[in-house]
């Protein structure tokens, strides 16, 4: 489904980043990192208009030739970035949205772990499994 899923801290360093193993990992790192600019832009644009509505889903950040990059930002400014294969037309906005919601729930669980130190890299196995399930679901 997704080819790369990343969780980025408020300060824009990666908390978690995972991509499908057969692909070039470096490429996705660059892609996710660059997409943060768009996230910032969207947040600052949204900041004025949509304070009350609290729409966390940012939508399509930018399309490249092979991939589509979607973004999502929590209230604590933690960003989720998902890279999806462009050829996968089955994925609509709604599916992406629900995937992000699932990711958010799982992330919340991680944060609820009293042994997790906020700001550390996420090493939860549950979270990992969830991401894996999201990455292999369809493809």
């Amino acid at each position: 489904m997704a080819v790369c899923i990343a969780v980025i801290a408020k300060e824009n360093y990666p908390l978690y980043i995972r991509s499908t193993p057969m692909e070039n990992e470096l490429k996705f790192h660059y892609m996710v990192h660059t997409s943060l600019d768009v996230v910032d832009e969207k947040i600052s644009a949204m900041g004025k208009a949509l304070v009350d509505q609290r729409e966390l889903y940012l939508g399509l950040l930018y399309p490249t030739e092979d991939y589509k990059v979607y973004g999502y930002v929590t209230n604590s400014k933690v960003k989720f970035v998902m890279v999806v294969d462009s050829s996968n037309t089955a994925l609509r906005d709604n599916e992406i949205r629900s995937m992000f919601r699932k990711l958010h729930n799982s992330y919340t669980d991680v944060m609820c772990n009293p042994f997790y130190n906020p700001g550390d890299r996420i090493q939860s196995r549950v979270f990992d499994n969830m991401v894996t399930s999201m990455m292999i679901q369809v493809c």
Partner: protein, 1463 residues
């Protein structure tokens, strides 16, 4: 897009200027070459008009042209070759670099400086938000915006080198200058020849290339006159002739070379050519088609550029890995063949080659004075005013007229036919389109092009309004005709002129540009034109702050065909991102990386490096480790190819140092690359100091230092003392114990005071030990340093020739500093020998320690600085596992792929200080000197071996072992002492006798005891001997733990060894015991620095249960024994076999029971059963009863109070002499350890001395000091052999009637004492002796006949005489009251049948002297037969001289029964 020096409004007009050709005679070339210039070049600096120019447009309106510039160039006949252009652009870009300091600035710090091109911004906090603010500041202050001069010069050169094309006329020649010299023979003929030549070039079909604007080109005749050489008159006359022939408007006399080329000229003439000519020298190789020249900022080329390029090639060859080849390299030969194109400028080109070679030394325009400069300027002015502009004006007007006349019918006609054709014939359109793509649709003089020509002319003279409307019209026409190339050209220029219109009446039509670009690129496949379009459009958009559009435009043009262009455009796009209102830093970084990639593909290594470095600033330290590693790696490689080796090394170092998430193969590649680069660095400076290596990590604080030899392993039966070694873990508890032991022995040596300068000896220094002082090492004894390495990588590291790096300051033998302190570094084997570990493998992600040794051969101060080694990897990661498993087998076999020699320093931070206030408030660290030992003079060195040392013992078992002391140094040692917390565990024997065999082999089967065979006759009676405790070393000092070792001569000479017997007694508690021995010794010669040395040994003994002995003593009632002596006691000894291991220990035999006391001795065994062999199997108990008597008082008086009397009662036929070693030794030791226990101490109040005295006396009565020693033999089966083990238990009896045990009783945990809130009352209560104690003062016994026959029928009253013996047990006088008629209150006494009266005196008051026995004759009176208890008398006693103490009832004697029978 980066900021440019020029604004767009200047840039575009300067990019499109009227072009003028120059055709010169040979003579003219000769004249100008005196100045090292061609004619066109001569004019170049003056080609911009200084004043405004006026012109009339077709509507006769006055139009003002500002800053008009013309471009004069020599005629060339060949279009520029694409390869040549590419090469030229490449050179331009690589020639233009930011200042050298920037490129070298690879950022290594954690806090980074963001360098955007030539500016640096300090961002103190590495988080983006702060950083963004800084960037915003940067953007707002226009002064701090970045420039990219390489891009500008690229753009300029690109626009200039555009080949003239047919669809546009902007760079077509408008006019031609025909230049002849006055010095020529026939100048007028020369002019006509030149004119014909020009005509031929323009109109002959041989020459297709130089494009001409209109057929009748303006010809302008210039006569060049050399003032210094030629005849001025002649020139004037020729000029007159010319004026007549060509008109005053069409000719000019230019005078130059007013002075001879004289270097010695004192006049300093400015050289306006210098800023153009470097570039020209490159350009001239290919083309003289010079476009407009703009003023550019930074053209000071470095002369070393070429040499750098040369280096590149070398580097490329040197690199072993698959480095890409230079993308332009295969083209180079063809380019060089292209460089000479036409016959016309061969000469000039070659001449310029010369100038280029001469390069910097050449001064241009050496023959020209300032007047000449003015003349040239004047000439240009004149040419433009009189020649060019009127010509343009005329042409515009002509074109305008043509258009107006043509407009009506032609337009409608064309459109009608078009409509008609397109409607009917579909296929023709496709043919049409085909044609369009091929490029040529209209002939050069086609009427459709006239409007375009007019537009171009208007554009050139800056009449943008008119130009726009013309372009707009032309665009419509071309689009109608489906002439896409033409249409795109018109669209492009329409957009530009719309932008340039003064007052900007309409918005910039960006969509025109987009369409144009798309057409150029997709339909016409003409990337050059598309690129020009993009450059212009991006610049315009940028000027309107539409950065994101500009970026999109730039990115869209990046393609595969040109790396250089893509790189430059990507870089500009990156700059656009960062210049946006909210800067997109990450996009900037990403595009910088892309640009850097393309730059490196284009062979622009410096630019590539710069791009990566700039991107690095964004990625650095943000946790994007994969990207960071990639950038670092690229930076490393690029730096390496640019020979910036230090940068390369530091970049590679970053990859390796960071906790890398790369795969093992990747890490291996990184490492190999790093090693390779490092090797190159070190080869460049072979004599320099070793470089610091980053791998493997060294945990400096875990470094341990050990002084002394390695422990010799156990040698046969000899077991060496454990001492200290690096293998032992640090244990704070045990180190504290050792420290206490050492303090004890030092205190004993120094008469009970610990010297103020005392510090415990430390042989092993680690992070827990006290490292604040310089440690002391002894010369000729090795120093071992344990270094903790850790390999963070997933590939194994292979270190070779690993050794320590040190510095040494020798001292002379007297220990004083020599005058000059020499510092020696590694490699002085006569001072310090260093051990080298030849191979040391650290597997992936492994922590490993290396032990390195130094052998000091000289005294002085040593400083261990670090380690030096060759770092390498193992070739082929496949074999890693095998090597890891068998490190020994493979050593020497794995071929080192590569290794570099380097060092790493050991820097240990001391502990944080926290003592004073300043230290608490600030963070300061103490020194750590563990690596700075002072080498001192020779000291003796002791080695201790234990022979037959057991590991397991029964509790109380006595075993004999031997200790060997060996002095392995060259100094005699003395003062050997041993100290232990458990002195009762062992003894070296008293100095009474050394009768046991001295060698261990001889004593194989001997008993540990000294025995004497006795005859069985003497059984049951004690054999008495006596010994003084002084002989056993007891009571000498207050430290029984410190035991001097009885060396034969008290000195152990160098190289000698001595064996001493040593008896061990198993501790009384069951379990595993760790017993620490500390051997202390001194040198015979006093050393100032080291007073003593120590050796440690830890013995581990496992004890198992054997016997439990419990003893009580009670006073015998019988006053007189056989010998008639008064004082005697009964001793009951309970022995229990508690050993549970039935397999091992079969049975215990009690072979002897001895007593030891100052006052008492065992006399005989009261053995009722006559059971001779007192043996106890498992879980059996036995009870012995002995009679003890007081020793002879006389003996006690004559001998010292420390004298003990030993009495042995033997159950076998061998007497163990209990007063000799080792039995007595252990007895005394147990005694002394008993004494150590806290006793109820008498409080010494002096004023109550008398009371005290009494107390003591009273207490004495109930005290005994009898000590029982039970000696036993255990029969043990071990490995189907029967062994006899021997042992002894001690019971110390203090108080009559109290049970005493051989083993310490488990104490109940003391209950929590109630907290008292008042002062405890004075201790008088405790002074009062207890009733029980007082009741022991007097011993009583009744003597009477057991049965008494009395004829009651004869005499009804029976009188029985009874003797009451009163014996004073104390040593004081006692007042005694005997009350016979005392009413007993105890109920059992009442129950006894019948009572009887005493007759006669019934109450006595007596005084008994010390130990006096008094007898009272009493009479009892009975009236019936029966059994009576005579024990009714009550005895009260008190010390006679004490008034405070009340009389106390004395212990009731036994019931004394008498039977009265009737006869």
């Amino acid at each position: 897009m980066a900021q440019c020096v020029q604004s767009v409004q200047e840039l575009i007009p300067d990019s499109f200027v009227p072009c003028v050709a120059a055709l010169c005679s040979d003579e003219v070339e000769r004249l100008t070459r005196l100045n090292h210039l061609s004619f066109a070049e001569l004019l170049k600096p003056f080609s911009r008009l200084t004043s405004e120019v006026h012109m009339r447009d077709p509507n006769n309106q006055l139009h003002i042209i500002k800053n008009l510039k013309i471009a004069v160039s020599n005629i060339v006949t060949q279009p520029p070759q694409p390869g040549a252009i590419r090469k030229l652009l490449n050179d331009v870009v690589s020639g233009s670099q930011p200042s050298e300091g920037l490129v070298a600035n690879v950022i290594t710090a954690g806090d980074y400086d963001l360098n955007i091109s030539d500016r640096s911004i300090k961002a103190s906090v590495p988080w983006y938000s702060n950083w963004k603010d800084t960037l915003m500041e940067l953007k707002e202050s226009s002064l701090h915006t970045a420039t990219t001069p390489w891009f500008e010069s690229y753009r300029e050169t690109f626009l200039q080198s555009m080949p003239a094309s047919d669809h546009e006329f902007l760079n077509h020649y408008l006019a031609c200058m025909l230049v002849a010299s006055s010095s020529e023979a026939e100048p007028m003929e020369q002019f006509s020849r030149l004119s014909q030549e020009q005509h031929r070039i323009q109109h002959n079909n041989d020459y297709s290339y130089p494009k001409w604007f209109i057929p009748n080109t303006l010809k302008y005749y210039v006569l060049l006159h050399d003032v210094s050489a030629g005849d001025e008159q002649r020139a004037e006359s020729i000029y007159e002739e010319m004026k007549q022939k060509y008109g005053t408007q069409g000719c000019y006399l230019l005078k130059i070379n007013s002075r001879t080329s004289n270097r010695a000229s004192d006049e300093q003439i400015p050289d306006p050519w210098s800023q153009y000519l470097q570039k020209n020298s490159i350009q001239n190789q290919e083309s003289y088609e010079d476009g407009p020249c703009t003023i550019t900022s930074n053209k000071n080329y470095d002369s070393n550029l070429l040499s750098l390029d040369g280096l590149d090639n070398e580097v490329k060859d040197a690199l072993p890995n698959n480095f890409r080849t230079h993308p332009l390299q295969p083209d180079q030969p063809s380019e060089s063949s292209n460089s000479i194109d036409g016959p016309d400028h061969v000469k000039s080109a070659s001449s310029l080659h010369e100038t280029k070679k001469a390069n910097t030394g050449v001064i241009h325009g050496a023959c020209l004075t300032l007047t000449d400069h003015d003349r040239i300027r004047q000439f240009i002015q004149e040419f433009t005013f009189r020649g060019l502009l009127p010509h343009i004006e005329k042409t515009i007007r002509q074109l305008n007229d043509q258009l107006i006349s043509r407009k009506g019918l032609s337009r409608s006609l064309f459109s009608a036919t078009k409509k008609w054709f397109s409607g009917s014939k579909v296929p023709e359109k496709s043919i049409n389109e085909l044609k369009n793509t091929s490029g040529l649709l209209y002939p050069p003089e086609a009427p459709e092009l006239q409007i375009r020509k007019m537009a171009d002319l208007c554009f050139l003279v800056q009449h943008y309004d008119l130009a726009y409307s013309c372009y707009h019209t032309a665009k419509k026409d071309f689009l109608n005709d489906q002439a896409m190339l033409y249409a795109a050209g018109a669209l492009e220029m329409a957009a530009v002129s719309a932008f340039l219109q003064p007052g900007a009446p309409r918005p910039y039509p960006a969509h025109y540009m987009d369409t144009a670009i798309q057409t150029y690129r997709d339909i016409c496949k003409n990337m050059v034109l598309a690129e020009r379009c993009v450059l212009l459009s991006a610049e315009i958009l940028k000027s309107q702050s539409k950065y994101s559009e500009a970026a999109a435009l730039l990115i869209r043009l990046t393609s595969e065909d040109s790396d250089l262009r893509s790189a430059l455009l990507l870089e500009q796009a990156a700059h656009c991102f960062i210049n946006m209102k909210s800067p997109m830093v990450r996009k900037y970084a990403f595009h910088m990386i892309l640009a850097g990639h393309r730059f490196s593909k284009a062979g622009q290594k410096k630019h590539a490096l710069r791009c990566y470095c700039q991107a690095m600033q964004v990625y650095k330290g943000k946790g994007w480790s994969l990207a960071e590693d990639h950038i670092n790696f690229t930076i490393g490689r690029q730096s390496y190819t640019l020979r910036q080796l230090d940068n390369a090394v530091s970049a590679f170092r970053h990859i390796l140092i960071n906790e890398s998430k790369q795969s093992a193969a990747q890490q291996g590649a990184f490492l190999r690359e790093y090693l390779y680069v490092y090797k190159n660095v070190s080869q460049l400076s072979p004599d320099g100091a070793f470089p610091q290596l980053p791998l493997p990590y060294i945990n400096s604080s875990a470094t341990r230092v050990f002084f002394g030899h390695d422990r010799r392993p156990a040698d046969g039966e000899k077991q060496a003392a454990t001492h200290v070694s690096l293998d032992q873990e640090y244990d704070s508890e045990s180190s504290q114990q050792w420290r206490e032991l050492e303090e004890q022995v030092v205190a004993v040596v120094n008469k009970g005071i610990i010297p103020s300068g005392f510090h415990p000896t430390q042989y092993c220094l680690n992070s827990y030990s006290d490292n604040s002082r310089f440690p002391l090492a002894v010369v000729e004894e090795p120093i071992t340093v344990e270094v903790a390495f850790r390999n963070p990588l997933k590939v194994p590291l292979f270190l070779t020739d690993l050794s320590l790096l040190w510095k040494f300051q020798p001292k002379d033998v007297n220990g004083k500093d020599t005058e000059e302190v020499r510092e020696l570094v590694t490699g002085e084997p006569e001072m310090i020998g260093a051990e080298v570990i030849s191979e040391f493998l650290i597997n992936s992600e492994e922590s490993k320690v290396a032990r390195l040794k130094l052998f000091p051969h000289h005294i002085g101060e040593l400083h261990i600085l670090g380690v030096v080694y060759n770092l390498g990897t193992i070739q082929g990661s496949m074999t890693v596992d095998g090597i890891g498993a068998l490190p020994g087998c493979h050593t020497g076999k794995h071929s080192l792929s590569m290794s570099v020699r380097g060092r790493q320093d050991l820097e240990i931070q001391g502990p944080r200080l926290n003592n004073t206030k300043e230290e608490k408030t600030s963070i300061t660290y103490g020194p750590d000197r563990r690596l700075d030992p002072i080498i001192t003079e020779e000291m003796p060195l002791l080695e201790v071996f234990f022979i037959h040392f057991p590991t397991g013992l029964l509790c109380g078992e006595i075993r004999k072992a031997y200790v060997e002391f060996a002095n392995v140094s060259k100094c005699p040692l003395t003062g050997l002492k041993v100290v232990s917390k458990r002195p009762e565990f062992f003894t070296f024997g008293g100095n009474t006798a050394v009768l046991t065999p001295l060698s261990p082999s001889a004593s194989e089967n001997c008993s540990a005891y000294k025995t004497v065979v006795t005859d069985s006759a003497s059984v049951c009676t004690a054999l008495v001997s006596s010994a003084s405790s002084v002989g056993f070393g007891i009571g000498i000092g207050c430290q029984p733990e410190v035991i001097p070792v009885p060396l034969p001569d008290t000195v152990l000479l160098p190289g000698t060894s001595v064996q001493l017997p040593m008896w061990l007694r198993g501790p009384d508690e069951e379990g595993v015991h760790e017993i620490n021995f500390l051997f202390y010794y001194e040198s015979v010669k006093k050393q100032p620095k080291i007073q003593h040395r120590i050796l440690r040994h830890t013995a581990v003994i496992c004890t198992s249960r054997s016997l439990n002995v419990k003893a009580t003593v009670c006073r015998s009632n019988s006053l007189e024994d056989e010998e008639g002596r008064g004082d005697n006691m009964l001793v009951f000894v309970d022995v229990e076999n508690t050993n549970t291991s039935e397999a091992g220990v079969k049975e215990f035999h009690i072979v002897q029971v001895s007593s030891s006391s100052k006052h008492w001795k065992l006399q005989k065994s009261v053995d009722l059963s006559e059971n001779k062999d007192a043996k106890l199997a498992s879980r059996e108990k036995g009870k012995f009863c002995f009679k003890a008597i007081r020793c002879n008082e006389r003996e006690g008086v004559t001998q010292s109070s420390e004298n003990y009397t030993f009495a042995d009662i033997i159950f076998g036929n061998e007497q163990i002499i209990s007063s000799a070693s080792p039995c007595a030794d252990f007895f005394y030791q147990s005694l002394s350890s008993e004494l150590k226990k806290p006793r109820t101490q008498l409080s010494m109040h002096l004023e109550k001395h008398s009371v005290e005295d009494a107390m003591r006396l009273i207490r004495k009565c109930s005290e005994v000091d009898l000590n029982i020693v039970i000696l036993w033999k255990a029969y043990v089966v071990e490995d189907s052999k029967q062994l006899i083990l021997e042992g002894q238990h001690h019971v110390i009896l203090h108080t009559i009637g109290k049970e005493a045990f051989s083993y310490p009783q488990k104490q109940d945990p003391p209950e929590m004492e109630l907290l008292k809130f008042f002062r405890p009352e004075n201790t008088s209560a405790s002074l009062r002796p207890s009733a029980e104690q007082l009741s022991n003062l007097i011993k009583t016994s009744l003597h009477y006949p057991e049965t008494f026959n009395h004829p009651f029928h004869q005499k009804s009253l029976c009188l029985v005489p009874v003797t009451l013996l009163l014996s004073n047990c104390s040593k004081a006088d006692v007042d005694v009251i005997v009350d016979l008629r005392h009413k007993t209150t105890s109920p059992e006494a009442l129950e006894i049948h019948g009572s009887f009266p005493w007759l006669g005196q019934t109450q006595y008051k007596l005084q008994l002297k010390s130990r006096e026995i008094h007898s009272l004759q009493l009479k009892a009176c009975f009236v019936h037969t029966g059994v009576y208890n005579l024990g009714t008398p009550r005895v009260f006693a008190k010390l006679s001289d004490q008034v405070t103490v009340f009389e106390t009832s004395q212990q009731n004697s036994m019931p004394a029964l008498i039977i009265i029978t009737d006869v």
